[in-house]
Subunit: 592 residues, 3 copies
């Protein structure tokens, strides 16, 4: 119905878009879009706004192609608070007080202390496995770049050794891992250790909801790109059990590259965070190919062999992926059929006699076929190859997209909320059918610089939020994490908060009030995968639409312990909806 | 169809009920209903029956308002069988026989024995953590009642300390917890300890299916009411893994009280076990309010802000809740937006600058707003306030209820089974749509005093049974619990049984034959939440409809090893269906 | 549609089949069927083929009734590679190098070594718990056969003792269990032990995907048959978590036997692997009975009381069962109502007063009723009894079967793939509705002797494959199991492979390329339960339909690092589809 009446308009829009030929930076386009939302402030304002957009995009392109920050993840400062061996000794010895074999316990503490001190003083610093690992990896990359002949595989092998070393180190220093544990597990009784592990699993560590670059590991990496994967959520905290079967990964591919065909044992939902590419999906009898651009979402089914290209000659292609494994909860694997030595083809796992019979082909020819590829998963493609693989139909110009085409572009949607402080783009299974059996909805909040998103919560969905651009911070009200096991017995809430920057992942469980603020320099863009989407509702806790406004007069009085009139006055002060002026922008307030 | 033909009758019934204005005690009404089922015994019998009903209800009201038993849960006698330290020492020493370090093991046993003896003899009694906890809690309540100024929060804090103490104590005495373990874990090898833990988790403890008052913990409590919560089923036994994501809670609110608005991260199905109240649910754009009365079931969706009142000036409001958490399996939290210090509002978890910006209001005014409420979650409301919040439409007069209204009354149904020995009221998703996505059916068995329910089992559903009134006992045939891990390899069944009284919760897994008997003094009312309801069938094992009657003649002969005729004779002796004369009522038997 | 146009043909087929009166061996029939698929090779070839079929079936029947191999499972040779105590000592001591208490660790190793050596030398051989168990069990059976009076129960009790002994033994020798572990766990730190346990659970043991006879345990056994059950998949490996709630069991019943009525707390899907029987299902109000024969699949719902007969006077009835428990994930129990001492009736778990009241019958008569049956679950029936219970309608003559009838015969289907190298029969929920809520599809691959099935994988389903006849082997490409925890980060694949023989169960996870080869003597028949069937696709990796053929020219070049023309040449050499000439049949190849 709606499709029909919008058909002509859409045709116009589509042709306009096609005419533009995607020359314009998508972010620029979207930035300008947002300027129009400010038209109530007059022409002048819009002109300044557009000017700013263009400046920003120029700066962005200079930054992106100028070599500086070359990854999707922004650099990280190490804010682990490290305790010295002597501090740890004290803590350990104290822990012995409850032990039945106090002396033995204390001597264990001393023993560990001495070893640790040695390492600490010897190296001038305690060995931080993560830091050591990062250094090791950097060395691998340096070697790989210098020694032209030692590309691909050997770099990966090298890094693999780094990872092993880190694992080894972390085994030695179990308390280290999350930056806050106690290295001295001198207490006699194993239950206590178990309990501690338990507590850790149950999320008594401070904040199991935020994931930064250091929490990701490298699934694969070549000179031309890499796949960064977030470990299973339940490896972090038992509190995340409800989203155990979802995984997050970020793929970054350099300009004009090819990602070797492979299939995964996971359904994958993909958001194009940056760049322009093309995707090909192998069905049993045919191939489906379509172009992708920033803002697109598309899906690759479990078991479907797919390959991608970055068809842009300047921009990186960055994809944010949400995976839903089909075999083992929370675990997935990539399977490369095409390939050779690196990526290794799974064909080579079969014995020669099987392969000869299956291909009806002699061994030597098969060895040749599966022995050529040595460059890894992400490889450089020639301009001609890219061109040949780019002649695909455009996928997903709304409202034609979705069903028949492979993609759906979030930015092409009419925002469900929009004012000068931000815009919210949303898509659910009613618009993009491929979301249905995944039970996922996707939204993108673009928060204007300095502005904020209203405190709100989802009734049923857990949000897995990926910062795709900008900086800022968030705050979330959490029932006291230490009491979470008890259920509904909490006596209050604590604030969970963290800085946000590109690449940060935040999990917001259902029912938990959440707010995010953009930095004063740049819009903050939050991509949200909303898991368990069926029948979900968003409730806002301040602003014009506000769940507290629905209370009866008597309920307000009783609940707040003050006259309903006063309660109303406060709850009605904020006239905006969903996006507000941010905390540091506040000039004057209406009640002052 | 059925709805239509019953429409006029229902209208009559409805108007009659409305005319009564709910003055009549619902239990009285239902008791009288049941008398009519005895009309085959003549007018005289009915009159006596009605008389008894009225007496009973008068007695009940006297009891309820007379101060005696003030809680839904009936008092409990402590039937834990405690072993003395010396008995434990013997057991422990015996356990060392298999240990590789026998001597060391034995000396550990001795050590533990001495400590334990000291405590045992010192206190005159072994310290039972549960008993200690109950005493501690009683002291808290006493203090709270006496010191008028130390209400609410401090009582809760006090109880919290009691709980901590209990946890501490139980950590010291791990074998104690379920009243049957072995305190002396002197064996050297940790695997044995682990194994024991495993066994415990796997439910080799005697009876993981029955929950009494001591198994509940207090989620919150004020002078005016309390919420009692059953821990996660899997905390009790791994055997209950299949219902891990269901939780049970009982809310009790004193007359004319208000439960402060809040939302939970769980879908909640509620049965009104006693009293009359009113519920308000906040939707994004409007409020839905309806009255509730005994026998009603209704649902509050996860994330929906709701508040309740007990609108009766004499009766307690008692709600039995089944929760289905949406975030973490088996865990849920309450979120209070309205509130202040107690309940603490989640708004106060946000930083001041965020709140100022979100509400567009100065800090001091916000601090005032969120600083008034100190009385806790359940508070006294004035008569006017109650009246103002009670002018709601009646919800759920069958057959109008269900779909459009918020509630569905079980007692207003035509019972699916009814004779002089009892009545079964049932509702599933075909009648009350809100049950559909929860995959739950609800039933209420009202077993006449002295009578019994037929041995029967559910094909697929697990029943979570809450005793809402009366006393009695149940028996269930369980494959030998110690062999449960093996699967289908059991050599027999053991009887799991327990007394039933108000507040007892019993889990009856699918396929397990179950029977319940009412005491001779009072009807026994069992509320059953039937989880995994889709396509479930009830099979009865004795009485007129009886699965054994369906066997072929030859099958009977072969299965029982005796002539089919004899088998038939016995299986046809019981002429009743579903509710039978109870074991102690048996005067003469037809085969005597 | 298809049903209608095939109606007349089906009628003909049906009547023909009925006319044959099932005298012909189903395997023979199917073998002949397959010969017709070879008609392109001329009449002579078909004749030889049919001749071979008949020879084979004669041989089979001689073998089956000649007393030799009496079980569905073929005999097993013990290919565990046993290490000597001294080898284990070396390994253990080496493991101490990393221990903090090296000396203590080493002395532990020495201790264990001495004990082990004693046992090793004393017995001439190390005690293999499995072997010991098998010997113990054989002794039980021998005793049971000889002592006519000590049938049934006592044999079971005897075996139970054997199992206990094995468990005991395995506790002593934890490393032994899977034939590859390290007995000497001398290292001090418990974490290492835990880690090892963890690793084991996570499937770092060599091959958690193959189950042979020794992995099954005996659920029940009498002279006349037995039920063999595979333990929970997750007891083997955490990698199998995704199929935790499926269980596999094999029932074997001697000719003319009766399986006592019972119900399970699991939905059961059954494939008739051999023989002819009849099934009766008790509904609440009626009985459904139907005959079953080789190739049939049928379902018994959780909670449905059912009994079976083997109505053949010569052949064994062999059923392969896939169970989906409804109570506790991966656990199920059988409930016998009819019965007595053995199988024990669950009625006897109730107290006498309850039973007297429920049956309205005196205690002594009930004791008689539940005291006769002592012969166990599978008992001999007389010819008359079998005849009386066999007069059932035939179930499942396609295309009438499925919906209205209880069974669906796989062999009566048109194969979805068929050539001279094999045939694939498939059924999903669109054809047999009872599969729908189980989310299972069933297929049967009949691989011609010496031939192979194409390398292929399922997009979403995990295949639980049971070898129902023949011998051969399989190979599967697995991401390096040791890296499985990491997700998509693997650098290659390893081959998982094993011999296949009757009774072997293989789990093939989604996405994993798999190939199977039949021995040169006999067709290999693989029954596959495909779990998680909704929207599943099969992808083949060689042969005419081949997912690699869909790649663009440029993608082939880039992926394989060689000219697309050469890639194509190889991938097009195999002209067959799905079933190929096997590796040892290869005479000349087309590219030679």
């Amino acid at each position: 119905m709606r499709c029909f009446c919008l058909l002509f308009f859409a045709l116009l829009l589509a042709s306009a878009t096609i005419a533009l030929g995607y020359k314009e930076d998508p972010e620029l386009k979207q930035c300008k879009h947002q300027c129009e939302a400010q038209k109530q402030f007059g022409e002048e304002k819009i002109r300044t706004c557009v000017q700013k957009c263009e400046d920003y995009v120029r700066e962005k392109q200079r930054r992106e192609h100028g070599g500086g920050s070359t990854t999707f993840f922004e650099e990280e400062d190490d804010d682990l608070n490290r305790r010295s061996p002597i501090e740890r000794l004290r803590e350990c010895t104290k822990g012995c007080d409850r032990s039945k074999q106090k002396e033995r316990c204390q001597s264990r503490c001393q023993e560990t202390y001495e070893k640790e001190k040695e390492r600490y003083e010897g190296g001038g610093n305690p060995v931080d496995p993560e830091q050591e690992y990062q250094e090791c990896r950097q060395e691998c990359r340096r070697q790989s770049r210098e020694g032209g002949s030692r590309r691909g595989t050997s770099q990966e092998r090298c890094e693999e050794r780094c990872q092993e070393q880190r694992r080894e180190r972390e085994r030695e220093q179990p308390g280290r891992r999350e930056g806050g544990g106690n290295m001295y597990e001198g207490r006699e009784r194993e239950e206590e250790e178990e309990e501690r592990q338990q507590q850790k699993k149950q999320g008594r560590e401070n904040n199991p909801y935020v994931f930064e670059e250091r929490h990701f590991f490298t699934g694969m990496e070549t000179q031309h790109g890499r796949l960064r994967i977030l470990p299973k959520f339940t490896d972090r905290s038992k509190l995340l059990k409800g989203i155990e079967n979802y995984r997050v990964a970020i793929l970054e591919a350099e300009p004009q590259t090819f990602i070797v065909p492979n299939h995964w044992d996971a359904d994958t939902l993909i958001f194009v965070a940056n760049g322009r590419g093309a995707v090909s999906l192998m069905r049993q009898e045919r191939r489906e190919s379509f172009n992708i651009k920033q803002g697109d979402i598309f899906r690759i089914n479990a078991g479907t062999t797919a390959y991608l290209i970055n068809r842009d000659s300047n921009q990186k292609l960055v994809l944010a992926k949400l995976l839903q494994p089909v075999n083992t909860p929370g675990q997935f694997e990539a399977f490369f059929g095409a390939g050779g030595e690196n990526p290794e083809s799974f064909y080579t796992a079969f014995s020669n006699e099987i392969l000869e019979a299956a291909f009806n082909t002699r061994r030597d020819r098969l060895q040749r076929l599966f022995g050529q590829q040595k460059q890894g998963v992400i490889i450089k493609a020639s301009e001609e190859q890219v061109r040949a693989m780019s002649h695909h139909e455009e996928g997903g110009i709304w409202p034609f997209g979705g069903e028949s085409k492979g993609t759906f572009n979030l930015y092409d949607q009419r925002p469900s909320h929009s004012n000068e402080y931000g815009q919210l783009f949303e898509v659910d299974s009613s618009q993009f059918r491929q979301l249905r059996d995944l039970d996922i909805a996707v939204s993108l909040a673009n928060i204007t610089q300095g502005a904020m998103i209203a405190p709100s919560y989802n009734s049923k969905s857990t949000k897995i939020t990926v910062v795709v651009d900008g900086e800022g911070y968030f705050e979330m009200a959490c029932p006291h994490i230490s009491q979470q096991q008890q259920g509904a017995g909490q006596r209050g809430y604590e604030k969970v908060s963290s800085r946000l920057k590109r690449g940060t992942v935040v999990v917001v469980p259902a029912g938990h009030p959440f707010v995010a603020v953009a930095s004063n320099n740049q819009n903050l863009q939050l991509l949200c995968f909303e898991v368990n989407a069926y029948n979900n509702e968003k409730f806002t806790l301040a602003g014009r639409r506000n769940v507290m406004n629905q209370l009866e007069r008597e309920a307000k009085e009783l609940a707040f312990g003050m006259p309903a009139r006063e309660v109303d006055e406060i709850f009605r002060n904020q006239k905006e909806e969903f996006f507000f002026k941010g905390p540091r922008q506040q000039g004057g307030r209406s009640d002052e």
